[in-house]
């Protein structure tokens, strides 16, 4: 666009704001509120997803080993467990480590353990599950296969917790699509109607601009700038909310 039309467009935007301030304020407020609500919902669901993901990361399967296994057998079994597709990581807890951990967990009351043999606790594998497999039936299937492995005496995992988490994840997914979809449609129609009403208020101006031979760019540019201006007004608040992402604080809340 040449300089003269550019100056014309800028002057039209300025005059539009000056001549119809309430239309502008209402347009900006409606668009800001609508888009803010939608943005806030998206933020909320994203944080909720992150919270569930953080909880999901706490899911751990404990596989207790036969006491008869020697160090080489444990290494072989460790390598074997690592080949399961569900496994993200495995930590081997030796009998000695288990004893130390238990003592540390008891803290000041660890004296009650005095007199007990230090190999009373079995060695184990703490297995972290990949994100895609943190679902009740999938974990159950994995646990069943793990139980059939030679050298594994017992497998435990928080089945009830996993089942509840799976349900919550499913519910969040549904709410996200249904409520988010409805909200998106509402936002779309409200913004569309607001833009149409604002254009309607300028119908005479648009008609005259067309009649005197203004190009489409010259007619549309002031309105484009105007609505972008409206949309930009609420962006700082969204960025503020975005930066206040509470994921990190919710990560601390784990089962």
């Amino acid at each position: 666009m040449k300089l003269a039309p550019l100056g014309f467009v800028v002057r039209r935007v300025r005059n539009n704001l000056w001549e119809l301030p309430w239309t502008h304020v209402l347009t900006a407020a409606t668009m800001a509120t609508t888009l803010f609500v939608f943005g806030a919902f998206m933020l909320l669901q994203e944080n909720l997803q992150n919270l569930l993901k953080a909880w999901g990361e706490q899911i751990q399967v404990n596989a207790y080993l036969d006491k008869s296994l020697d160090a080489a057998d444990v290494q072989r079994l460790l390598a074997r467990v690592r080949t399961f597709p569900e496994v993200e990581g495995v930590r081997h807890i030796s009998q000695e480590q288990a004893w130390r951990d238990f003592q540390a967990a008891l803290g000041a009351q660890s004296g009650v353990l005095e007199g007990l043999p230090q190999d009373v606790l079995p060695a184990s594998f703490e297995i972290k599950i990949r994100e895609n497999f943190r679902d009740g039936p999938m974990i159950e299937d994995f646990v069943n296969r793990l139980k059939r492995e030679k050298g594994i005496a017992l497998v435990e995992y928080p089945q009830e917790w996993v089942d509840r988490l799976s349900l919550v994840v499913l519910a969040v997914q549904w709410v996200k699509w249904i409520f988010g979809g409805a909200l998106f449609l509402a936002t779309f129609f409200i913004v569309e109607s607001t833009v149409k009403l604002a254009l309607l208020a300028r119908r005479d101006e648009i008609e005259i601009m067309q009649l005197v031979g203004a190009s489409e760019a010259m007619i549309q540019a002031p309105f484009g700038l105007h609505f972008n201006g409206c949309a930009m007004k609420f962006q700082p608040s969204v960025f503020w909310v975005r930066s206040a992402n509470f994921t990190s604080s919710t990560r601390a809340i784990s089962p």
Partner: protein, 229 residues
């Protein structure tokens, strides 16, 4: 300059506004389109500035088929055409000067350039004192003069006026007609749709009568305009 070949215009579902119109209008002609309401005068003007497209037929403006123009082409076409309407179509929020300058600015004239042109035109049309006035504070005749100034600010090759004196009293209507004649002296072709027989008789050099969408009569005459010189 303007050629219409077998032009038809039908509005849905089956309203025939124009029927087989074939016309030729030369550069610099001063043409009245007349006829009763619904004869097709306004439709014909709308076809000429591409507000509407003909259902059938061709319209050539300086040899260019205006039916084939895209949106950009239509905008370019309208920059060469001045339009005057019965209801003036001025923007109430702008001053008289800004209304006129608007048409100059959309063709790329700078703000200063367009305001200077608009000011000279308004002065020429006797609105020197009113250039900062908003349209609603002006009389009908003054508003029409502002509209005429806007129509001619870009020196159009063609000026189309749809019932330009419809809202004006006889004296102001007469004055408006004299303005059109003055504009014609610059070489602008002028087509006025009107059913004001008094004015047509006094000023018409070519009178095209429409009836039910047909050209009923195409009369050319030599007239002397009182008070012209």
């Amino acid at each position: 300059m303007i050629q219409l070949f077998h032009v038809f215009k039908t509005y849905p579902p089956n309203s025939q506004a124009l029927n087989d119109i074939t016309l030729e209008i030369d550069k610099g002609e001063f043409v009245f389109l007349t006829g009763p309401s619904g004869a097709g005068k306004t439709t014909l003007l709308k076809l000429l500035f591409r507000e509407e497209e003909p259902t059938n037929g061709q319209i050539l403006l300086n040899g260019q088929n205006i039916n084939r123009l895209n949106r950009r082409g239509v905008a370019r076409l309208r920059r060469q055409i001045g339009l005057v309407f019965q209801e003036f179509k001025l923007l109430p929020r702008l001053t008289a000067l800004e209304n006129v300058a608007l048409a100059a600015e959309v063709v790329g004239t700078s703000k200063n350039g367009s305001h200077t042109k608009a000011y000279h035109l308004l002065r020429e049309l006797g609105l020197k004192e009113k250039y900062t006035a908003k349209p609603l504070t002006l009389s009908g005749g003054e508003q029409q003069r502002v509209a005429i100034a806007r129509a001619v600010v870009n020196d159009p090759m063609l000026l189309l006026a749809d019932e330009p004196t419809g809202n004006l009293d006889a004296e102001i209507a007469d004055e408006t007609m004299r303005m059109f004649l003055k504009i014609r002296e610059r070489g602008t072709t002028i087509i006025i749709a009107s059913h004001n027989l008094e004015l047509i008789k006094r000023y018409g050099t070519r009178i095209i009568s429409l009836r039910h969408g047909f050209v009923a009569d195409d009369l050319q005459k030599v007239v002397r305009h009182e008070g012209m010189h």
